[in-house]
Amino acid sequence: MAVPVYRKATLVSRKESPRGYVHLVIREEQIARTAGPGQFVMVRGWHTGDPILPRPFDIVLADPLKGVFRLCIKVEGKGTRLLSTLKKGSSLYVTGPLGKSITEFDSAGTALLVRGAGAAAVVFLAETLSKLKKPVYTVLSASTKSRLVCRALLEEFSNDVFIATDDGTEGYHGNGTDILDQLIREGKVDTVYTCGSHRFARHVKALDLAGKVKGYLFLEGNMGCGMGDCHGCAVKKDGQDGYFLVCMDGPVFRSRSVVVEP
């Protein structure tokens, strides 16, 4: 396993796309060199104060040669707002890579069912699978066309990207799970990763329990440290007592092993 580092790093570029999502490219060579799909970093763009804790973000892509990695951040509250206003050249503190890297790639076909900032979580996996010439089908969902996230990247690494919007402004007018079900019926996928929607998570877990796919969830949780110190990021185990820690046991979990909140 790659052991994480804590470093002062430099913001080498920032871009907003779509509105409300900023893409940050950060220079930190060791993280760029050792990160794998599914891993995340803890980022702090402020000194002690309010906010005080670092924030977790998935590594969208890492370029070991250039020594940079990319995040895609949805502007939500205090921390993400501050991060979104950082200017090129600013310093930030990053700890990573954190969490378990995905290491099994032996599926016949993989579906990525994502929505909102959840799209950021699976880009690295899509890239890895595409390098391994494994078929990747992405179902990218949003409320409306202008809220589709990481679309170009996912198109680059997927065999096919299916768009689903709630209002029908682009692609399928309806629920992304319908497209997933269709892909399964067509026998194209035996493995599904999902991120960004509780509804998706419940659906994938049901498919997993029914034996139709191997289902995986990218989970979140309020994180204090990202490295097992605080025990804050608990998620309930399914079928046994106790909790997993998202930062140490995840952030990617087999869907049947965890309780999905309603």
Binding site: R44, I52, C230
Partner: protein, 317 residues
């Protein structure tokens, strides 16, 4: 040439001594983790070696396994955080088999933090830890605010006296009483713990607090209330240590919001013989290392030859 050698000698001789004595145990330096806020594992070893610490400590264990509280377990607050982890614990057996030997091998003195749900559990757990021969000090977490079993043991003088003296009478290990600050006057509790036989005090555990998620219109934590830690509480914790130092003779391990050397020095000047870093380990995993180095620099710049010279120095006589 001789001049140079001489001055190098002098420099060496004034490099300050960081060691402190806690209840007869020598800590190579006064900085340790706070219980429950630092794991010893490969990840952390890669930042800096835990063998550089003044002491090591485990997250409080109970006799029997416990799952901990339902999430959300933590919530950020201004310059602090609330936690309601609920002390998930593998129980004594797993701890003694898997974790304690690893702590022991590191080098620094080992403090084992324990808690009981009943008087019998306190005693059994203390005896079992002592029997391993792998602990140097026993810390009684009398102060966790997140247990549904009722108020912390150390918020009522009689209860505090009862549990400390019971444990002290059964084990030879020096006992550290970790006190809750959620009392009218913590100096009274410090005195009670000393009278009951505690060989040292850890001050303080978290303050009881809560936050409300104004979107959900519900308490932010799964457990409704939690314990507040971080720089926010530092002025309260410094006062707790200062006021206890006025009335007890046993050494105090000070904590609450330490984020680096300046904060640690505040505690030492207030009367702490050692300090512990909790929440700030999450924010900057090098906090303890920075703190050790910064204390050394401060002592050298201010002309002290030992950290012991500044313990309690701020007291106005």
């Amino acid at each position: 040439m001789r001049m140079q050698d001489f001055s190098r000698d002098r420099l060496t001789s004034v490099s300050p001594d960081l060691s402190v004595d806690i209840a007869g145990v020598r800590f190579p330096n006064p900085v340790m983790p706070a219980s429950g806020a630092y794991e010893v594992d490969e990840i952390h070893d890669n930042f800096f070696s835990p063998s550089e610490l003044g002491a090591v400590i485990n997250k409080t264990i109970f006799l029997h396994p416990r799952p901990g509280n339902p999430p959300p377990r933590i919530w950020e607050t201004p310059c602090g955080m609330l936690n309601a982890i609920g002390i998930p614990s593998d129980g004594a057996e797993v701890f003694i088999r898997d974790k304690l030997p690893a702590l022991r091998r590191l080098g620094p003195p080992v403090v084992v933090s324990i808690a009981g749900e009943t008087m019998e559990e306190w005693i059994e757990l203390a005896e079992r830890i002592e029997a391993t021969g792998m602990a140097d000090l026993l810390e009684l977490n009398l102060s966790c605010p997140n247990l549904s079993e009722g108020i912390p043991w150390s918020t009522e003088e009689k209860t505090l006296e009862r549990v400390v003296s019971a444990v002290v009478s059964r084990v030879k290990l020096p006992v550290i009483a970790k006190l809750s600050p959620v009392v009218t006057d913590i100096a009274d509790m410090a005195r009670t713990a000393e009278r009951a036989g505690a060989a040292a005090l850890s001050m303080i555990n978290t303050y009881k607090g809560m936050a409300i998620d104004i979107k959900k219109k519900r308490p932010a934590l799964g457990n409704i209330t939690g314990g507040l830690s971080g720089p926010a509480i530092r002025p309260l914790a410094v006062w707790a240590v200062y006021s206890a130092h006025e009335v007890v003779k046993i050494p105090i391990i000070g904590m609450g919001g330490i984020d680096g050397p300046a904060a640690a020095i505040e505690f030492l000047l207030a009367g702490a013989s050692a300090v512990a870093v909790g929440m700030y380990n999450f924010i900057d995993p090098f906090t303890m290392k920075r703190t050790i180095e910064g204390i050394r620099t401060y002592l050298a710049e201010e002309g002290y030859s030992s950290v012991r010279e500044i313990i309690g120095l701020a007291h106005v006589k």
